[in-house]
């Protein structure tokens, strides 16, 4: 079996490069992408995270690859492999760009050695593991065949011989004024050690480091290049061997190996993210993704971007669940400000997109439909000149969203129509919700208007909770119950000691 791709079926690889979906900013998926690709910028991974899959079989295939990579040893093997491949490319670059012949030849040898380590290391590590995914099984077979080939064996043998010879070279440089003599090293004693020894008795504690930051030794300057030329003359046989090696093995890297390297980065990058949050105590799962499903189950989900931010501060977000039965397509979320409403809506949007990428999602158990797209409308930061202008802008954007949405789309709408009167906003909200119900799309609607939560059988009311013991404390839990604006009002009253009981008590004093 020849290895082709971890990500795509033979026929389905995208031909054009997808742009970032509009919902990414609102859902903070742009932050998630930035986190996943960090340190892997060379691989151009972002487009892979922009393109949801339309085929449940491909989603399952990616989930199996990811599942194989959950194993620490397998993931470590692939990381080590990738790191070596990156180094190989850096060395190849130097083998092309440097000016001095013996230097270029040596970078070429170094690149080949790193490549050999990368391929053999990966094969050995994968051989020891049961692999469940077709993608990684195909890769393993591919590596076996590659390593068994005669060209690979010759590369390995020749590289080892030349490297050994070069390692044995020792030389000395005598510098006096502008005159440089290069000769064999004759065992002259280490002078630094002598000086250290002489002054040792004064050393009572660690001292400041006075060493100048010199350019790395591997960056040769003109004089060093010239010295290398003379060293080559002192050791003609060794350097002859090196030149022969570069001619014999000009094009050593295998294309299948290179493809795997890039695609694996998507999994490694996302895995790192998942791993950090799991360690912080947050659950992830492989979602069940069913095309056309009319129910939603999310147990203990959370906002991935927020979780990342909180984890870096040593805390975790509150997890939240959502269950929508058959026909329940619109969830209206009300409750106190800063109570986690937007975060909840964002979470649902993220989960749908990530599920359609074939990746594990935040949550203990997740069953969702296969979303063709996630569409969002969040209030914009920039202030338009007039309120009327802002309302117009809101409505225009909503219109665009409704035009694009299908029954398989997920809509996340956040605090619409804040720029108009409450009665206008209620009327507009009812109208928009009616249209969404007509489409049959799944919709999360965050609002401060309790009236919208009672809009009919397709509509579910979710409320951001406050703690019963301390009404001023927000729990960030979103629960399914009728909208009840009083909880927030009571909380404010408590904070200002203006509840009934408070007012009585203060009057008694």
């Amino acid at each position: 079996m020849t290895f082709r791709s971890l990500l795509w079926d033979e026929a389905s690889a995208p031909t054009s490069r997808p742009g970032e979906p509009e919902c990414f900013g609102d859902l903070h998926l742009d932050q998630v992408v930035a986190e996943v690709v960090r340190g892997r910028e060379d691989y151009d991974l972002a487009p892979l995270l922009h393109q949801p899959l339309g085929d449940p079989a491909m989603i399952a295939g990616r989930q199996r690859v990811f599942s194989d990579l959950e194993d620490d040893d397998v993931a470590q093997a692939v990381s080590t492999f990738s790191e070596r491949m990156r180094r190989m490319r850096r060395y190849q670059g130097l083998a092309r760009r440097r000016h001095q012949a013996e230097e270029r030849q040596r970078w070429f040898l170094d690149a080949a050695q790193v490549y050999l380590d990368a391929v053999r290391g990966l094969r050995d590590a994968l051989a020891a593991h049961e692999l469940g995914s077709e993608g990684l099984q195909a890769l393993r077979d591919h590596l076996d065949a590659l390593i068994a080939s005669s060209s690979f064996a010759a590369l390995a043998r020749d590289a080892a011989a030349v490297a050994e010879a070069l390692d044995e070279v020792r030389y000395a440089i005598a510098i006096k004024g502008r005159r440089v003599r290069v000769r064999h090293y004759e065992g002259e004693p280490d002078y630094l050690a002598e000086i250290e020894e002489a002054f040792a008795k004064f050393r009572e504690r660690d001292a400041k480091d006075y060493r100048a930051q010199l350019p790395p030794e591997s960056q040769m300057n003109g004089v060093e290049e010239r010295i290398l030329g003379l060293v080559a003359q002192l050791f003609p046989e060794t350097f002859g061997q090196l030149a022969t090696f570069t001619e014999r093995h000009a094009d050593f890297a295998d294309p299948g190996v290179l493809t795997f390297e890039r695609e694996a980065q998507l999994f490694l990058g996302y895995r790192k993210h998942v791993r950090a949050l799991r360690n912080a105590g947050l659950p992830f799962c492989y979602p069940t993704v069913t095309p056309g499903a009319r129910t939603v189950t999310i147990e203990d989900g959370f906002d991935l971007a927020l979780a990342r931010k909180l984890a870096s501060q040593g805390t975790v977000p509150v997890t939240n669940s959502l269950r929508l039965g058959p026909g329940e397509r619109v969830a209206v979320i009300t409750g106190p400000n800063q109570g986690g409403k937007t975060t909840f809506a964002r979470m649902v949007g993220q989960i749908h997109h990530l599920a359609a990428l074939g990746l594990p999602v935040p949550g203990r158990r997740v069953e969702v439909g296969l979303a063709d797209q996630v569409l969002t409308h969040f209030e914009r930061e920039e202030s338009l000149d007039t309120l009327r202008g802002k309302l117009e802008d809101d409505l225009t954007r909503i219109r665009g969203i409704l035009d694009r949405a299908t029954a398989d789309s997920v809509l996340v709408l956040n605090e619409l129509f804040t720029s108009t009167t409450v009665s206008d906003a209620v009327a507009l909200g009812h109208d928009i919700l009616e249209r969404i119900r007509g489409l049959g799309a799944l919709c999360l609607y965050v609002t401060f208007l309790d009236e919208l939560a009672e809009a009919g059988p397709e509509t579910v009311s979710l409320v951001g909770e406050v703690s019963p013991e301390d009404p001023t404390a927000r729990t960030f839990e979103i629960v399914r119950r009728p909208a009840d604006g009083l909880a927030y009002a009571a909380a404010l009253a408590q904070r200002h000691r203006l509840t009934y009981d408070h007012v009585r008590e203060r009057l008694r004093a």
Binding site: E103, A174, I175, R178, R183, A198, V223
Partner: protein
């Protein structure tokens, strides 16, 4: 090279952050006037003495070690003074040579460090000779031990070897490096080898080793810089070692100067107090709990200002709480300070201003004095007092000595007394010793009723005119001092004395 004058086994980290309560301690006990007397115009003495007084207690072995060195210093001040002078000169050498800062290139660092080491090695030679000259007058393991170490470790042969290296490091015959081939065939592991020898024979030998040569043309500055860079690969480490060695030697001189500074300050303080006719004795520090016995204990800060001050005789042994009540201007605060000062000085290794002073070693000395700021915001003031007391409690530990001066007098008597009673009782139960000066009669009376076995009651009496400060007598609190105190607080003058004068 170890100095070990302040501690038998290690350097004392002078200059490290002091405990949070240290500044309160200094202010409440007027330690800065003692420190002034120790330092005069010498900032090093000021810094070291202040740190040692405020840093907290050592164990008895360390204190004994310091007392012995201090006794040597009092008997032979010239030894301490002359070694202190040599150390100070060494430390100024670096600044004189190159403004105290090494350059950035290895060549410059090497040259500077070599010149500095020339000077330091010469100074070490001088220090050893000074130490030898004074050795016969010294008996403490600290000072005599240091002189002996200087004599054996810095013998003339050793110093000659160092000077030989410094000479050779002028590198008049250039440098020799060895190297291997690394990535990209760049040279790696450059090691400086013993430099080519001078002389005809050595040069002939070097020529016989053959090799290939090139010379960089006079005008090619790029190549000259590249060559300098290569040379620096060889010199970087050796320059570093030399610069670090000079730092280490300077560190030695710095530790020496700082440790001597403390004893020099001790000598000066002792002289100043003697001139004022203040008593002096070596304190006795015990680990037996709840010991505090004094004879003629005086407030050293006051004694520096006023000659022939009268001290207090107190025996509170077995009484973890000393409760001082009585008239204002009656010497209550003076007594409280004198106890704190003596405890702190004793634990630093200094003699104390008393004819006799026996005390339990206290891991911490903590003060809680009423503060003058914000006289108008009474509630804020209590809040501030509570916050500071909470910090005292944070810092306290069993065996600690807590000195309270009119604590919780910023609120009404009943509240203040109740807070104070609860805090104080809790401290005593935790094994903390407390000396508490108060005019809170409720507080004092409470202790006479409930806890008298644990308390030594002292009372300040307004004595005959002109006698300052007044001696404290044992005696239970009297309720009558109230009106006078209030009057005093309101009018800022004393009721009874003023009436008689009029």
């Amino acid at each position: 090279m170890k100095v070990r004058l302040l501690h038998p086994d290690r350097d004392v980290p002078v200059g490290e952050p002091l405990p949070d309560h240290a500044e309160d301690l200094a202010a409440d006990l007027e330690l800065d006037s003692l420190i002034e007397a120790m330092a005069g115009d010498d900032d090093h003495i000021r810094r070291v003495a202040r740190w040692l007084l405020l840093a907290g207690a050592e164990d008895r072995a360390v204190i004994a070690h310091r007392q012995a060195v201090m006794a040597d210093a009092l008997a032979a001040p010239a030894a301490v003074e002359s070694m202190y002078r040599v150390a100070t000169e060494a430390l100024e050498g670096r600044r004189r040579l190159f403004f105290g800062r090494f350059g950035s290139s290895p060549e410059t660092v090497l040259m500077q460090a070599r010149r500095l080491l020339d000077l330091l090695v010469a100074t070490l030679r001088r220090l050893r000779r000074v130490a030898d000259a004074h050795r016969q007058h010294l008996g403490s393991s600290g000072l005599a031990g240091l002189c002996d170490r200087l004599d054996t470790e810095l013998d003339e042969d050793y110093l000659d070897v160092l000077e030989g290296h410094l000479e050779e490091l002028q590198l008049e015959e250039g440098v020799l490096l060895s190297a291997k081939l690394g990535r990209g065939n760049a040279g790696r592991d450059h090691v400086l080898r013993r430099p080519p020898q001078q002389g005809r024979l050595a040069k002939m030998l070097e020529r016989e080793r053959g090799g290939l040569t090139f010379t960089i043309p006079e005008r090619d500055e790029t190549a000259a810089r590249a060559l300098a860079q290569l040379r620096e690969r060889g010199l970087n480490d050796v320059a570093n070692v030399l610069a670090q060695s000079s730092d280490h030697i300077l560190d030695f001189f710095r530790v020496l100067r700082d440790e001597l500074a403390f004893y020099l300050g001790g000598v000066r303080l002792h002289r100043a107090l003697s001139q004022q006719g203040a008593p002096s004795c070596w304190p006795e520090l015990t680990e037996v709990a709840d010991v505090l016995a004094t004879e003629s204990l005086v407030d050293a800060a006051l004694a520096l200002r006023i000659p022939e001050v009268v001290g207090n005789d107190v025996d509170a042994t077995g009484r973890p709480l000393v409760l001082v009540t009585g008239a204002n201007q009656g010497g209550k605060s003076t007594f409280l300070r004198s106890v704190g000062q003596a405890q702190v000085m004793a634990q630093a290794g200094l003699p104390v201003a008393a004819a006799r002073f026996t005390t339990t070693l206290a891991p911490r000395v903590l003060t809680h004095h009423t503060r003058e700021e914000d006289p108008e915001m009474e509630s804020g003031k209590l809040d501030e007092e509570l916050r500071r007391m909470s910090a005292v409690v944070d810092a306290a530990a069993p065996g600690a000595l807590v000195l309270c001066n009119e604590s919780f007098s910023s609120t009404n008597e009943r509240e203040g007394s109740e807070i104070a009673r609860q805090v104080t009782t809790a401290l005593l139960d935790a094994g903390v010793r407390v000396v508490y000066v108060t005019h809170l009669y409720e507080l004092a009376r409470g202790f006479t009723e409930r806890d008298r076995d644990r308390v030594l009651f002292l009372r300040a009496e307004r004595g005959e005119q002109g006698q300052r400060p007044y001696r404290l007598e044992e005696g239970e609190p009297l309720p009558t001092s109230f009106g006078a105190d209030t009057y005093q607080q309101v009018f800022g003058a004393d009721l009874s004395v003023d009436a008689e004068e009029r």
